[in-house]
Amino acid sequence: MTLQVVNNATCTFCGCVCDDIQLHHDEIRIHEAKKACVLGTAWFLNHTAEKKYPDAIIDGREASLDEAIEMAATLLHEADMPLVYGMSNTTCEAQKECAALADQLGGLLDSHTSL
């Protein structure tokens, strides 16, 4: 089996954000993360492209993505003081959307930094 190689991939597990990792993958999982440290290797090898979880879960039952988005929007819109929190393990692009979400809702916006 030949593995595909991605050069200079970026690890986001810790604040070092090493951008020199060489990833060997077969489109389903990453088999090797060269240059990454133990933490980074574990991070890369633990995530796969398999469908391990349902698209969405609502009140304990499996649901479709569309349904979950619609219900999330309704719940957030109905709330008087919704909280948008986290944003550690996500991209800046998603973080910007979160800032817009909190703004649109008139809610609270906070990250891990405040802990």
């Binding site: 604040g15 070092c16 003081m81 909280l83 986290g86 944003m87 998603a94 959307e97």
Partner: protein
Amino acid sequence: MGGKVTCTLGEVKQRADFIVYWGGNPAECHPRHFTKYTIMQKSKFLPRGRKDRTMVLVDIRETKSAKAADIFLQVRPGKDFELITILRALVKGQHVGDAQIAETGLTREVLDDLVQRMKTCKFGCMFFGMGLSMTRGKHMNSAALLTLAAELNAFTKFVAMPMRGHGNVTGADVIMRWQTGYPFGISFNRGYPRYNPGEFSTVDVLVRGDCDAAFIIGADPGATMPQPAIDHLKRIPTIVLDPHVTHTSRLARIHITTAPQGIAAPGTAYRMDEIPLPLKPALKSPYPTDEEVVRRINQAIAQKPFWLPEGSQPQMLNAQV
């Protein structure tokens, strides 16, 4: 963190001949920090690499990082602020009493030597971790250390930098500063951003039970927060976006699976020195990205009536790209 005396890791790698780690354990938490950016690198200005550099570790216990250090200072727990204040006084040549020094668990000789080294190095850098910023004194400790770094510039080049934890927390700070003017703990409930940690920070909000819905993304408060906060998350409708079904997902009303950043989702992440780096995802995920899901939720909410009366709607963040 506006106005902080800092630099990029590239400068540290090229020039820093004196490196202090304060309240952090890079050997175990940031394993490649030594080899990639700080003590192990050879450079034009420090051709002998490790031999040209001095490393000091200040911590309350002897961690694995102490093995890498030339000097290890074991400060008494909760006395970081006192120690920084003493160093600031010694740097300025002011008198410090023996009792004050004894309180920190260190000796005058050690501190005099440290101050001497700080003043005479060519380029000093202090990295401070959670051991400083999350213990007694919290942000006052960080502020004191940044002031010490600023004051040392009367003698030599000196900077300080926080050792940020995992993931893209630095990115969250930067994005919030860019979009709202504040780094965290923000409320939009008057239609414009207001900043007040303690009032608007998540743990306090949850423990007091102030919010009536929660949207959690890229975090697992269900595993890390104090129990009263978790209890409140159970009471209110909670929505979680995560690549895995987490502790928080189990107590949430809605969980949406998303693609993991950097592995299957493209985008940008910030390094601890606030350098943005592009992500290079290797895999294609069957799930959508966080960005896509939050954007769709935003669009769905935009269809509904605005929460303020008609005509009083302020300019929204996404309208000013």
